[in-house]
């Protein structure tokens, strides 16, 4: 790979603990041998990856990132307030933790919330990359080469964290790239909810190449919500991967509203018997946005269950892609897996791709998949209008109603109201443009 500034020298110049520098350097050397993916690969089909130009971005310097120990963002601002009560707060700017706090009673119970670059190496080295390492591609390697920090959450055995841990990500800087990382390790029998909110500066060209790793121990329950409201020229290429132990439970929700091109690859591997994974998503693109989702429900162990419901809308000339795979491995008998993707196409210039896939290597399983792409039903519009509802209000009600079953299942109920408002505004903007 040539003609860009993501070099080994730039990777090592970021500094930090020796183990992290060494890890970055190894990734940077590997990166030099890789080619960027193209849309001829199935996992990138319909994507905008061919438009990706690494020369448009450069990595940050150590000076730009600032001192890893610096506390430069007290509190969390208006976004944190919308999350309601919380047990902990991590503020991440351009991939580096600039503030973190944790309730004293959870500190006493052994819960850790810290920045990857400043945590003790023992706590983190054994976990970092253990989950995401199973999904390598050039962007994962690029991420590892410039990983400058990120949030680390460790919940010890049997500890229940009742209120959410809130992680606020902010990215800025025209022509810059940032590499946020979130690593959640929930030990056996623990419970935790992690809410991540991603935003970036508007009108600047920025690449966010992020990774979320969720390690869900035996009989642990992790609820993860990510809400992305990136600026209109942000490119986001994100990987979220979870490994689930015996009787573990993952409830994961993704909300995508922003970005120019925003891709999220969500993978859930059910390693232990009795593990359960629920993956939800809501996405709504307007203007020229593209939201791109790739999902993987990977059933390794028997008697595991997974459910997926992804719902999206597109308007103006926005596009979306959903491509999902359920894989049932040979030993994974008595598995139940479902996959459902529903799309509303609100204008003629918009479009949605929906590609559900099954790969079943066991014989005693129950699997189903469903996908729909279409405009708002005329009969529904007529029904509402026959009551006196104005056409634009009818459309808004139907779109909000379409997303309602996902909103109702969000593990952080306080989020539903601002998200409904955001969807409301997107549908409203459609009518402003028309009139």
């Amino acid at each position: 790979m040539k003609n860009h500034l993501f070099t080994a020298d730039a990777a090592s110049a970021l500094g930090g603990p020796d183990w992290l520098v060494a890890r970055r350097l190894a990734a940077a050397e590997q990166l030099a041998t890789l080619a960027w993916p193209t849309d001829s690969e199935e996992v990138w089909r319909y994507s905008r990856v061919n438009q990706f130009d690494p020369a448009r971005y450069r990595p940050m310097t150590a000076e730009e990132l600032g001192d890893p120990d610096a506390e430069t963002a007290p509190g969390g601002g208006v976004l944190a307030a919308e999350a309601g009560e919380r047990a902990a707060l991590i503020v991440v700017r351009d991939g580096r933790v600039v503030h973190h706090e944790l309730d004293a009673d959870l500190v006493a119970q052994g819960v850790t919330v810290c920045g990857i670059e400043t945590c003790s190496a023992d706590a983190i080295e054994s976990h970092l990359g253990s989950v995401a390492g199973a999904s390598p591609d050039a962007f994962t390697v690029l991420h590892d080469a410039f990983l400058a920090g990120g949030g680390f959450v460790h919940v010890p055995r049997g500890v229940v964290v009742k209120r959410p841990i809130v992680v606020l990500h902010w990215a800025e800087g025209d022509g810059l790239a940032s590499f946020p990382h979130t690593l959640v390790v929930a030990e056996e029998g623990s419970e935790v909810t992690v809410l991540e909110r991603h935003a970036s500066a508007p009108h600047v060209s920025h690449l966010v190449n992020s990774v979320v790793e969720l390690s869900v121990g035996d009989n642990a329950h992790v609820r993860h919500v990510s809400v992305q409201e990136y600026g209109d020229q942000t490119w986001s290429i994100a990987l979220q991967r979870a490994h689930l132990g015996r009787d573990a439970r993952l409830s994961s929700s993704a909300v995508a509203l922003g970005g120019d091109y925003a891709r999220l690859r969500t993978e859930s591997r059910l390693d232990g018997q009795g593990a359960e994974s629920d993956l939800l998503a809501v996405y709504f693109g307007d203007g020229n946005q593209m939201h791109d989702f790739r999902t993987f429900q990977d059933h390794v162990a028997p008697r595991t269950r997974s459910d997926l419901l992804f719902k999206g809308a597109v308007e103006d000339t926005a596009r979306s892609v959903y491509s999902g795979m359920i894989r049932i491995r040979p030993d994974a008998q008595k598995v139940e897996a479902t996959q459902s993707n529903r799309n509303l196409v609100l204008t003629e210039g918009a479009g949605a791709e929906s590609i559900p896939n099954l790969e079943i290597e066991a014989d005693d399983v129950r699997c189903s998949h469903a996908s729909t792409v279409g405009p708002i039903d005329d009969d529904q519009l007529y029904y509402l209008e026959s009551r006196g509802v104005k056409p634009e209000d009818a459309e808004r009600l139907i779109v909000l109603g379409f997303f309602e079953d996902v909103f109702a299942r969000l593990p952080v109920p306080e989020l539903a109201t601002p998200l409904r408002r955001a969807v409301h505004e997107k549908v409203g903007h459609l009518h402003e443009d028309r009139s």
Partner: protein, 261 residues
């Protein structure tokens, strides 16, 4: 006192004329029954009145107190006081009845009003919490159609086969509520049906027989009795013509289709 007046209404679908000169006049507080065989165009009439876009009106007029409704979009007709209870109300996921009536009135109705009406119509709370019509039984659909009617207080209601899918008890509850509205708010009713049993619960002031896309004869409640005795064929014979062939495709769509009634 208001008057819904339909004059020489003609409408077609994809070039086929379904309504062939309909004349009707309903005043506040009156109950009119419109009875006709399957395929006579009864349901088409209800949708043409409401302004559904699949139909092309070729002639005639529909007014409330002299104001022309044809040419107005559906929602404006509703706001001028016209209400349709749908024969097959469509499911709208995630949109509760209270959301619907709130939007229909630009936030003019509070939830308590919906609760009160739900009580009168024996609609259980779970049906208010769900998206409208989502997994409702036929009976629940018609009760909640009536609930919306009661809450929105229109001047005229077109009941499109409100008796289909209703058991006797539910039919009674719904009929009593509509009858009360004719007294309380002066609601005028045009009840489209092919079952005489509706007319034992919802007693009409006038009965109109609808065949071949128009009203062929009108009379008092005794006309429904005659129809029950001799059927559409017998009635057509008395009037000196044969029952016209179906003009619309309702026949194949209607799961309750029976010859006559």
């Amino acid at each position: 006192m208001s008057v819904l007046k339909i004059t020489n209404l003609r409408a077609s679908v994809e070039g086929t004329e379904i309504l062939r000169g309909v004349d009707l006049e309903v005043s506040s507080g009156e109950v009119h029954a419109l009875m006709g065989p399957n395929g006579s165009g009864k349901s088409t009439l209800s949708h043409v009145l409401m302004g559904r876009s699949d139909y092309t009106v070729t002639d005639g007029s529909v007014t409330i107190d002299g104001e022309e409704l044809l040419g107005l979009p559906t929602w404006e007709r509703a706001r001028r006081g016209l209400f349709l209870t749908h024969q097959y109300p469509v499911e709208v996921a995630g949109v509760r009845i209270v959301d619907l009536v709130d939007a229909a009135t630009d936030h003019g109705i509070d939830e308590a009003r919906v609760q009160t009406e739900a009580g009168r119509l024996a609609v259980r709370d779970e049906f208010l919490a769900r998206g409208v019509n989502v997994e409702f039984s036929g009976g629940e659909q018609k009760r909640t159609e009536t609930l919306q009617l009661a809450v929105l207080e229109p001047r005229f209601a077109i009941l499109d086969e409100i008796d289909s899918g209703l058991d006797v008890d539910a039919l009674r509850v719904v009929s009593r509520r509509i009858e009360a509205m004719t007294e309380e708010t002066g609601l005028g009713v045009l009840a489209i049906t092919h079952y005489a049993r509706l007319l034992t619960e919802l007693r009409p002031d006038r009965v109109h027989v609808f065949m071949g896309g128009r009203v062929v004869t009108s009379g008092g409640p005794e006309l429904a009795d005659e129809l029950e005795a001799v059927g559409y064929d017998g009635l057509a014979e008395r009037l000196g013509f044969a029952v016209p062939k179906p003009v619309s495709a309702e026949v194949t769509e209607d799961p309750f289709a029976t010859p006559g009634f």
